[in-house]
Amino acid sequence: MIDQMDLSLVNWARAQFALTAMYHWLFVPLTLGMSFLCAFFETIYVKTGNEEWKNLTKFWMKLFGINFAIGVATGIILEFEFGTNWANYSWMVGDIFGAPLAIEGIVAFFLEATFFAVMFFGWNRVSKGFHLLSTWMVAIGSNLSALWILVANGWMQFPTGMAFNPDTARFEMKSFFDVVFSPYAISKFSHATTSGFAVSSFFVIAVSCYFLAKRRHVLMAKRSIAVASVFGLIASLMVAFTGDEAAYVDAHHQPMKLAAMEGLWDGTTKAPVVAFGIINGMKQPGDFQDPFVVEFKVPGLLSLLANRDPGSYVPGINDLVYGNKKMGIMGANEMLEKGKMAVKYLAEYKEAKKAGDMQRASMALQKFNQVKEYLGYGHLEKPEDAVPPVSITFYAFHIMVIVGSLMILVFVLFLISTIKNTLEKNTWLYPIGVALFFLSFIAGQAGWVVAEVGRQPWAIQGLLPVAVARTDIAASNVKLTFFMFLVTFTLLLIAEVKIMLKQIQIGPKEVA
């Protein structure tokens, strides 16, 4: 895997973005899921009028508040990085991202200024109904806020609803509807939010297991686990369902990513899923080395995931690099030639326009429009550059799937123990519940690695490679801020863990 990591200075910008996004994603899943769990707990309180449910709600709300306070604004740094490290990209996508990010900002501001305040200050000061409404609004609003960010990310994976304007060098939005409801936007939003719900459910379960192990707040812990295991099970099943949808979408729009996820070098019918495998890290496109050192395959499963047909053909990395005429697959080699033509015609257009030769400009533009969808390939040096880091993508995908499957199983175990009222007896479940909380975080991070590393070398799929998207600034600056972020985020994380642990230690208020 190490051989696939380019540690040259110019990659610090990528590393910095990855670091910031990964730290940000430590806080976000808990916000997404805990907001809904608090709403569920409070709904039960309002329905039953039982003060114990109120105290339980207030306890989890407090932990939600800590996570929110520490995590808030960590995402803003990503926007700074766009303007400094990825200025070409920012310029080109400003018209597309402006609307979703502005909506996200407005939603977040109004939420935080109004409903958050009622949620935390409003106990006994507003009616039960209005307080509950505020808690639900925070949950819905936080998740809607995530929608706009994921719409923007989905557009980078599958640029749609836009047109490239060669006069401004910008992608301009032509259909807001197409951008928001693109298959990637829907798939990203549903997969990311439901995974956040599952992570949060394990957070509740892990803390409750701690109380059960200590024989403190036993009733509260059992009630919390009851709600979290139902919510978590539904969420984790949704994660699996939406993950399947994501693979299907990848198969049709990012087939290279899907091939890397499964280490599929040569396309085949009845394509298998590798249940377990060790990648041959030396394998390169076009060579004859074995792709795996060890592998256990399930035949036909990848074909089923990709095309809903276990006998169907799934292209491999080599097909996508060198093409496969028999299967009608255009390779990166051919796209690269078309891309170079696109770059050439764009340059001709620019020069002709500058010289005032509008006839030549019009002809160049006409030619450019015929090959513009390959523009990004024109910036690759060789077709093999279109291949993402296979090992990283493969292992990240398999970690995500294995942990995701484990999550479903463990939620079922907790639910069964809740129904049978054996939670106090089944002490062996407690460490599993705690372990799955940490593992679910790793699965979430691995999911983002699959999504982002798996689509390299593209900043915008097929249209803009990261090499062109980035700004040429001194690498030392990026390196310095990389470590500054590392320290800042680590301090924030330590603060969160410390404050959380203290509040967990104090525990919820008991009804006298």
Partner: protein, 93 residues
């Protein structure tokens, strides 16, 4: 809602926030963290380390377009097979 209630709404809302902030315990610590964090993010990171490169180096949108077009059409000047590292292309700003 009567006219009197509407008139007193801004005052009630303000009192709601003031009393809420005053009664905070853990919230005080969290707000301190938020304020320190925002100061670091905006006054240190943004101000010293994360300038908007295009705003800093170019005065007009035409200049920004010109720069991006230059980067986008660079490949045409150096045909396929050029040996320059693909991650270090484009002019330095």
């Amino acid at each position: 809602m009567g006219i009197n209630s509407i008139k007193t709404l801004p005052k009630s809302a303000l009192e709601f926030y003031i009393q809420g902030f005053r009664s905070m315990t853990l919230g005080r610590t969290l707000w301190k963290i938020i304020v320190i964090k925002l100061l670091i993010i905006f006054l240190v990171f943004k101000f010293f380390f994360f300038p908007d490169i295009f705003k800093k180096h170019f005065k007009t949108d035409e200049q920004r377009t010109e720069h991006v077009m230059k980067v986008l059409t660079l490949q045409a000047k150096s045909p396929s097979g050029h040996k320059k590292n693909s991650l270090s292309r484009g002019g330095h700003l």
